[in-house]
Subunit: 102 residues, 2 copies
DNA sequence: TCGACTGTTCAAGTATTATCGAACCATGGC
DNA sequence: GCCATGGTTCGATAATACTTGAACAGTCGA
């Protein structure tokens, strides 16, 4: 299942409210913080919630991905998660930095 | 009913996720934009939705107020709504500007 | 090729939010 | 004092969102 590409919205289709909503959940925000320093194996994300069911984590990732915040590409038998920082900065200047800096 | 003060959270009790959630709704975000230029009579807010039921508008305001985004004080027979800009800027530097600038 | 590992999707249940009418209340103007 | 104005609260219903188990699929290593 880690073989195919998942859908990612184009930058111009990303909406501010969707981004804000995705970031408004503590668990999702935590994942974003973890990924902010560089790409991470999806399995390595959410280390703070080690007992989080995988279906739940998959859903959290889906919300972040569909909001345009995160990129999620196949990587071996797993997936690699990265922040779409440059694109987000271009679309919503300063937003990500202010959220992550808080 | 416009006589008593409503509850407003202290700055230090304002959480980032609550703020982001409050701003993640288009109708609420619109109200914030309207108020960004200065205090406004509550009746004047949401001019874009003129047929919005007052109970609905009151609820939207409540979410914004409880998130710490807006101040809502009695004013004659109505209420005056204003942005808690300075406080928000102090607590989450750059956040408001990036959201409003988007 | 056969497991073990990593994730996705589906479905069902739960929980949170949104919406809006109705009842109610202060204030201001007459 | 009375009424119209502006807004809150409550209660019910509808709509979203969250959570999780189960079933399934691609990949890697032995």
């Amino acid at each position: 299942m880690a073989t195919y590409e998942l859908e990612h919205p184009a930058i111009e289709d990303i909406t501010l409210t969707d981004v804000l909503f995705a970031l408004s959940d503590p668990a999702r925000l935590e994942i974003v913080r973890e990924v902010a320093d560089g790409p991470l194996d999806m399995a390595a994300c959410g280390a703070t919630n080690p007992d989080l069911p995988k279906s739940t984590k998959s859903h959290l990732m889906k919300v972040l991905r569909e909001a345009g915040i995160v990129r999620n590409v196949p990587n071996g038998r797993g997936r690699l998660v990265s922040l779409r920082k440059d694109e987000l900065d271009a679309r919503f200047p300063g937003l990500l930095d202010s959220v992550l800096g808080a």
